[in-house]
């Protein structure tokens, strides 16, 4: 049995994971050009700006694309299949890789409205998404 890969936060990425532990979604925004930056960086990938303060995101977004893993994509996920790996586009713009939970995989579709859902795993809190309450 191999262990599930988990994040090892660095000084750069810690604000993201500390936010997640508080059930909040935080990302950087370039002070110079306003571009929202994810994953965390020292330099803005659009303009090269080096002032990237953190801001809290609303947690809402839509499914940009997804797949249903019918076979485990990693040995640690054996037994969890089928599970949904997705790219969610936040309402503020950034995209992130995540899982869609709280819904049968067959019911997931591109464009589905979702909200951040947080799951504590060991010492960290992962950011997943679930259907927005209607």
């Amino acid at each position: 049995m191999t262990e599930r890969p988990l994040p090892h936060p660095s000084p750069l990425t810690r604000p993201f994971w500390e936010g997640a532990a508080r059930r909040e979604l935080w990302m950087q925004r370039c002070h110079a050009c306003g571009h929202r930056v994810f994953y965390p960086r020292h330099l803005c990938p659009v303009c090269g700006g080096d002032q990237l303060p953190w801001e809290r995101m609303s947690g809402g977004g839509t499914v940009f694309t997804y797949t249903v893993a019918r076979k485990p994509t990693h040995p640690a996920f054996a037994g969890r299949e089928p599970y949904v790996i997705a790219v969610v586009e936040l309402d503020e713009g950034p995209k992130l890789t995540t899982n869609i939970v709280g819904i049968p995989p067959e019911d997931v579709s591109i464009g589905l409205r979702v909200r951040a859902a947080f799951e504590d795993v060991g010492d960290v809190t992962l950011v997943q998404f679930e259907p927005e309450a209607t």
Partner: protein
């Protein structure tokens, strides 16, 4: 200036196998080095340039120089994933054209054991931190998400995707070295194989194998006096845009376009001037995106294009006549190089059971990562 200043003068190949035994990667690299220089009719003493990929050994390229007994004027190590093979040939062509070296060996090899040999090592990267905790490991999920998004934006049926696998399997049945030689496929076979990552079925995904491939690049003057008809490097183009599909500038319009455009422009030829497309095919969707973004059909029409054209070796637009990696086998980094060796074989008239008559030029394309690393080559029969 690269155009026409260098040529491929030799190729070598260890065909795909399911299990390569206890041989190490560097041992396999040295075997493929010997086969490649022998094919060109020269000796290792005549080689003064070497390009390899990551061998797992510290300073692996330098160690290979020592192992092969070279005195190298140019050494490089390329890490473009699936585009490594074409990127190696591009770098060798640059090195020869610029005068840094005269004769450059490009070597790829991957070993494989049929039995379990351990889990992949988790690296320290944004991928490890922000994707792997969610099951985002390996290339399957990224290509599946591309296929899913593509089908949302454009029209593409599962049957059209399956046609790519079926036609390449037909080609593999004309190639005794292919891992699936003698095993023809139907569209139904592909679509009834197990779903692995929606919407991709098992037979739309490459089979990992072990094997090796080598290419020798030298000056056009020197190539004219060697064992085979020279295959001049007419154009090269490279474009790298992203690593993870999540951060791709555009998930359904790939970086194939800038790479292919540059290669065609350098070669001074158009799409209609190439008679073979030897293009990276880790998945069926990869071929479809490449056909569009390399300019062989309009955006969003690849599905219809593969229905209207015959991609078999004896069809109107031959694609991956060796079977492609989908049916030839994907021997790690050597898999990408198999598209180069097949194009050279066809241009030299050395693909006996699947010969494209009067072939003058081939478009060869390598794709790495999740459509983010792209390297195109135009190879020909004359300068």
């Amino acid at each position: 200036m690269i155009r026409g200043r260098s040529a491929v003068a030799g190729i070598g190949e260890l065909p795909p196998r399911r299990d390569t035994g206890d041989e190490t990667v560097v041992e396999m690299l040295s075997r493929i080095a010997a086969l490649t220089v022998r094919d060109a009719g020269i000796s290792l003493r005549d080689v003064d340039g070497l390009v390899v990929h990551d061998t797992g050994a510290a300073m692996g390229a330098v160690m290979m120089v020592e192992m092969l007994g070279l005195r190298a004027n140019f050494v490089d190590r390329v890490g473009h994933g699936g585009a490594t093979g074409t990127a190696m040939v591009a770098r060798a062509a640059m090195a020869v054209a610029s005068g840094m070296c005269d004769t450059c060996l490009c070597l790829t090899a991957s070993t494989r054991r049929a039995r379990f040999t351990g889990y992949p090592i988790v690296d320290s990267s944004p991928t490890a931190e922000f994707e792997e905790p969610y099951g985002g490991s390996g290339p399957n999920y990224g290509y599946a998400m591309i296929a899913q998004r593509y089908s949302h934006e454009y029209r593409l049926t599962p049957e059209q995707r399956a046609l790519v696998a079926v036609q390449q399997r037909y080609n593999a049945c004309a190639n005794p070295d292919a891992i699936f030689h003698g095993q023809p496929l139907t569209v139904d076979d592909v679509l009834s194989s197990p779903m692995i990552v929606d919407p991709l079925h098992r037979l739309e995904i490459v089979l990992p194998t072990g094997g090796a491939a080598g290419v020798l690049v030298t000056t056009t003057e020197r190539a004219a006096h060697l064992a085979h008809k020279p295959v001049p490097v007419l154009g090269v183009g490279e474009h790298v845009s992203h690593w993870s599909a999540t951060y791709a500038p555009n998930l359904t319009v790939s970086s194939v376009k800038p790479a292919a455009d540059r290669a065609f422009e350098m070669a001074g030829v158009g799409r209609k001037d190439v008679g073979l497309l030897s293009v990276y095919d880790c998945y069926t969707i990869t071929v479809l995106l490449t056909l569009e973004d390399a300019g062989f059909c309009d955006k969003g029409t690849a599905g219809r294009f593969v229905e209207e054209h015959d991609l078999r070796w004896d069809g109107d637009l031959p694609v991956n006549t060796h079977g492609g990696q989908l049916s030839y086998g994907q021997s790690g980094i050597a898999g990408g190089m198999s598209h180069v060796t097949e194009a050279v074989r066809q241009l030299q008239g050395r693909a006996p059971q699947r010969t494209i008559p009067d072939l003058e030029r081939a478009f060869v394309h390598g794709n790495g990562g999740v459509m983010g690393e792209q390297v195109s080559l135009i190879l020909g029969t004359r300068e």
